[in-house]
């Protein structure tokens, strides 16, 4: 056989072999082994040690009750989660059994079929009825529950009591006052950011949009369309972008800041204010500003109003391909149960998702008031569609903010691009 005649034959064979791109099969049914290693993915936090301690305690308890079971935890950086989870979806054999993930990603993760439907497990779980219904709603996609709500993430305004007292400032009552205060702080103390906030911090931007009456998107007949180019949304975005200016938080340092980095800067004593979550309280408490800060709700546009906060929160989900389905669900239930929700609250200071636990801790901890008030004033959520994960990981809103603060585009231009990009994802 001649070389020349062999090559086309080989090529033709290869073409015939597969005419469509490779797909990994749909996640298998998984298994129900009762021993072996249970793989768990948890999010890395601004200060991981207390969270790690609480999780380790749960692991010790779990391993003591299940002989032959080892729990292996991997810490996933929040900003890098899209890549990690994509990898797990494409290769179910390397996926974890249990994973912590944000409620904004539920729709898109559910769409891949990689997560197990936990509706039945929750119905049979003793703490299941105690879950706050509005919180449980954020764990649903197409009516099925894909994760156990572990804690609620609500953001509020952290401010330095010592700096405010020294400069004779009162906690801001409106967003305009917030900007003014930030300005004054930076003017009086040039080594502080007036408010530490960043171009890569969409969940600080959204309260500004919502407080001004804007919305991310609207849904007509099941089809989503972005409304970030409405006058209200534009007012919100430009209000937020005004914080990332040389006289408050210089773009050279702040344009690329994430939420975690801004709260780290505040905890390190580098800022007069910051927008942070209930889940950041321990990180701040262990920082340089311990005893010198207080928390209030993010104000709205009129005195006395509260800007609608983003109803964030993390869930514990089980992968459908898990070889230890029951063990995985049991471990998730242990972590999300009363005992460890209280321990997680003690460790991280974040709001529990079980009604009874939330009431109990809020009664004993006045510093939770800002978060509880914010929830009472009404929260909002991102568009409940699989497209949101993509919009989030493509950094569409942060890019718009960054373009504005670096002077690359004006508000109209940047938001027009963002709307086009979002609508492309909505399809």
């Amino acid at each position: 056989m001649k070389l020349r005649s062999v090559l086309p034959a080989v090529a033709a064979l290869a073409l015939l072999a597969s005419c469509a791109p490779a797909q990994s099969g749909p996640a298998g049914a998984g298994g129900d082994q009762t021993s072996g290693t249970l793989r768990v993915w948890m999010f890395d936090e601004a200060n991981r040690a207390p969270k790690e301690a609480a999780v380790k305690e749960a692991i010790t308890e779990f391993e003591a009750h299940h002989s032959g079971v080892k729990v292996d935890v991997q810490w996933v950086p929040v900003e890098d989660r899209a890549n990690k989870f994509s990898g797990a979806f494409n290769d179910p054999s390397n996926a974890p059994d249990v994973a912590e993930f944000g409620n904004t990603d539920v729709s898109s993760y559910a769409q891949t079929g990689a997560l197990a439907d936990l509706t039945k497990d929750l119905a049979n779980w003793s703490d299941g009825k105690d879950l706050i219904p509005s919180v449980l709603d954020t764990a649903k996609a197409n009516g099925k529950i894909y994760g156990i709500p572990w804690f609620t993430g609500i953001r509020a305004l952290y401010y330095r009591t010592d700096v405010f007292a020294e400069l004779g400032l009162k906690p801001p009552a409106t967003l305009a006052e917030l900007t003014e205060d930030a300005h004054k702080i930076r003017a009086a103390k040039p080594d502080l950011y007036g408010i530490a906030t960043g171009g890569k911090f969409a969940y600080a931007l959204l309260p500004f949009v919502w407080a001004n009456g804007g919305e991310i998107a609207k849904q007509d007949n099941g089809k989503w369309t972005s409304t970030m180019d409405s006058p209200q949304a534009k007012a919100g975005v430009s209000g937020y972008a005004n914080l990332i200016k040389d006289d408050i938080c210089p773009p050279a340092a702040c344009a690329n800041l994430t939420g975690t980095q801004s709260i780290t800067a505040f905890a390190g004593g580098k800022a007069g204010m910051a927008i942070g979550g209930d889940f950041n309280r321990q990180a701040v408490e262990r920082g340089a500003v311990k005893g010198k800060y207080a928390i209030v709700p993010i104000p709205g546009t009129t005195p006395g109003s509260i800007a609608p906060a983003f109803a964030g929160g993390n869930l514990l989900g089980v992968f459908a391909a898990s070889q230890r389905r029951s063990l995985a669900a049991q471990f998730a239930e242990l972590l999300a149960g009363q005992k460890y929700q209280e321990k997680m609250y003690a460790a991280m200071g974040n709001l529990p998702t079980l009604g009874s636990v939330q009431k109990k801790v809020a009664a004993n901890d006045p510093s939770l008031k800002a978060f509880v008030d914010t929830i009472a004033a009404g929260t909002k959520f991102v568009p409940a569609t699989p497209a949101w994960s993509k919009i989030d990981s493509q950094n569409i809103l942060p890019t718009a903010v960054q373009q504005i603060v670096t002077g690359g585009k004006d508000v109209d231009g940047a938001l027009a691009d963002a709307v086009a990009a979002m609508n492309k994802n909505f399809g």
Binding site: A22, S86, T112
Partner: protein, 307 residues
């Protein structure tokens, strides 16, 4: 009779060639042809995360991904920046490498050894480690460079952010890329220059040629094939830069203004979960690189009798 025998010999030769080529051929097919085949195939489909996981049906798009890409303003912006960035890196590493190669031929053994050790150290440093070291050196608040600059009187540089401005960030990354890719040029060109026969150089100087004349008319033609290899390699490497940009500009700079094609493809494919579109970018990049390299090799072939 003779023609029959020569045909038999040819056939035996063909068989032998096939057997010799088979191991490399299998390896290439498995590691190169098959992935590229998959890449092209995926680029023709609407291939997102649900399709990759096998829960959504595949939709054949034909060339829609390419049409979408070519009509996207951002793609052209990123392509333009990539070409400019790669050109600067190629010229920089060729200039630095060649200049140091010339230097190496003119100094004594000990300094030459030091030069080579330093160059090999830079060459051996993994891209990620190198990027982080440079980031530490040029850190806004704690970096050695800012400290030294403000110490010697440039007080404006005290808290200068090197990675913020579009050109600043590209310049810093380009410097790092040049730093870790000039050693290859240095080693190649040093071998070339020291390979020029002494007699030829002597003859040139006896004929009264100046140093410049000798370099231009004797040494340069002699090292031309090597220079071409170094250039082609540099073009391919620098056009495909990923790690340095990804690490040093935090995934493409503020508002993505420091994106290069490879990082852009990665973001579309993995962060955006648009594997189809990402593959299309990959295919376009492969075609671009092949044609740039092809054109360059052809132009060199025409202008010199050495190849």
């Amino acid at each position: 009779m003779a023609s029959v025998r020569s045909a038999q010999v040819r056939r035996r030769d063909g068989g032998a060639a096939l057997r010799y080529l088979l191991p490399a051929g299998i390896l290439l097919a498995a590691l190169l042809v098959y992935p590229i085949y998959q890449l092209v195939l995926i680029s023709l489909y609407d291939y997102g995360q649900p399709q990759a996981s096998g829960v959504a049906p595949l939709v054949f798009l034909g060339l829609d991904n390419y049409a979408g890409l070519l009509s996207d303003v951002q793609f052209w912006t990123v392509l333009g920046k990539t070409v400019g960035f790669a050109a600067a890196c190629v010229l920089g590493s060729l200039a630095a490498g060649t200049a140091l190669a010339v230097l190496a031929t003119r100094v004594r053994a000990f300094p030459r050894m030091l030069l080579f050790l330093a160059a090999l150290g830079a060459w051996a440093t993994p891209a990620i480690a190198g990027s982080y070291v440079w980031l530490f050196l040029f850190d806004t608040d704690f970096g050695l460079v800012n400290e030294v600059l403000s110490g010697v009187g440039f007080t404006g540089m005290a808290h200068h952010s090197w990675t913020f401005g579009t050109f600043g960030a590209f310049g810093l990354v380009a410097a790092e890329v040049i730093w870790c890719s000039f050693p290859f040029v240095l080693v190649t060109m040093y071998a070339g220059i020291s390979g020029v026969p002494k007699e030829t150089l002597e003859a040139a100087s006896l004929d009264g040629a100046s140093v410049w004349r000798t370099s231009w008319s004797v040494v340069l033609p002699a090292v031309r094939p090597l220079l071409m290899i170094a250039t082609v390699q540099s073009i391919i490497w620098d056009f495909k830069v990923f790690t340095q940009i990804y690490v040093m500009t935090n995934g493409g700079g503020v508002a993505g203004r420091n994106l290069v094609l490879n990082v852009y493809a990665y973001q579309q494919a993995f962060a955006g979960q648009e594997y189809g579109l990402g593959s299309a970018i990959g295919v376009v990049m492969t075609v671009l690189l092949l044609s740039i390299t092809g054109l360059y090799v052809r132009s060199q072939r025409r202008s010199s009798a050495w190849l």
